[in-house]
Subunit: 233 residues, 2 copies
């Protein structure tokens, strides 16, 4: 536990994000003792999640949160529009440099992690942070990681030192529990898991490409194509 | 599939709700073809999730959404303050009466469900909707259901006709996938499960009281007591 010390966790949000990418890990991490979560964006204000029916509030700009101890980048259709957003990418790089500059500080004192869920890792990749590293993302977008010199891995959570990337959407919950154990301790993470009653019992066994099989996977790719982008709503 | 017909899904939100209770199922249900999700509250505006760092926007009042086809009530610390809120409870009753009045309409035409996650079922119970029925809620609050004449069951998802209640927080994802299959069809639900890559691999096996064991459960109950209510932040 990090008694008495605030743990600043920044979650960048943007238009057309996938809300669960952010909120799954948020729900885990906000239970960490002393966690202070900040939803950040280019400027404070409301950001619409994909399909438009939900808005989340960013309460600070990137520049107002220059040195978070943990960064968690969610994904979603809107990540595409940010792949060349220099404000966000510079912020990610700067934050990452800050993180990298203190590799020997004990984890329980000033834990420092850069993390992502789903296509959030594309943004880390675009910022150059994943070059040469293993990473994961949503199963139908591995090629984007390759384009930026990362090595895509079909795992639910990939850890490379201080960088944790999670696969699609719901995987952020698993990642956040692992992160909670790294930040605090295993017992705290286990307590949080019980508190959010995370004893998953999905009604089907189709949560990964290997389990779903080629036919359902092909159907899912077709399904995605029919989803109306937020900009056209 | 319900081609061409809008499926109105109302998610009541309130101060001090547990965000993942709402957002887990939202992420599943918003992928249903023609789903139109409305976050509703006493009046439109921002509602702060528990611990205060996240705000979600309600875009409509209860009275503006009188006949949703699906209701999903999330829980959280804030549900307690609503147990005698006649506006919400009357709305739930009215919605429920509407639902109950058409029990023979085929599910694929006008599917009608009342659902909850976590302590959201307390509000259904307070509205009298669960009297005599089996239901579930967060594992440390079964007694509240009993007080209102429901029969608490330690299951992840409990279905009683058109009423589905889910256990704590993260269980809403499992419930929503089951609901998606009922509303649309199993293939659509399986596609959604793959799309949100819901192949859970929790790092620990402590997601239920029976798995966590008495010591960790006791520790978790102590942990909850130390969480600062939003009103004191």
């Amino acid at each position: 536990m990090m008694a008495g010390k605030k743990l600043e966790i920044a979650i960048p949000i943007f238009h057309d994000l996938t809300a669960l990418d952010a909120i799954g890990p948020y729900e885990v991490l906000q239970l960490l003792p002393n966690a202070q979560i900040k939803f950040v964006s280019h400027k404070p204000g409301l950001l619409r999640a994909c399909r438009g029916s939900l808005s989340l509030q960013a309460t600070a700009s990137f520049e107002e949160v220059p040195n978070p101890q943990v960064v968690l980048v969610p994904g979603g259709p809107g990540s595409k529009a940010l792949m060349q957003d220099q404000v966000l990418l510079d912020w990610l790089r700067k934050v990452q440099q800050f993180l990298s500059s203190e590799p020997t500080v004990p984890v329980h004192d000033t834990t420092l992690f850069t993390t992502s869920v789903c296509t959030g890792s594309h943004l880390l990749a675009a910022a150059g942070i994943l070059r040469g590293l293993e990473a994961t993302t949503h199963w139908n977008t591995y090629d984007v990681l390759s384009q930026y010199g990362a090595k895509p891995v079909a795992k639910r959570v990939v850890r490379q030192g201080k960088i944790l990337t999670a696969a699609g959407v719901s995987s952020g919950i698993d990642m956040a529990l692992e992160l909670a154990a790294l930040i605090a301790d295993e017992t705290t993470a286990k307590v949080i898991q019980l508190l959010i009653e995370y004893d998953p019992q999905p009604p089907f066994d189709t949560g990964s490409v290997s389990k779903a099989g080629p036919e359902l996977t092909a159907r899912t790719i077709e399904f995605v194509k029919k989803i109306v982008p937020i900009t056209d709503l």
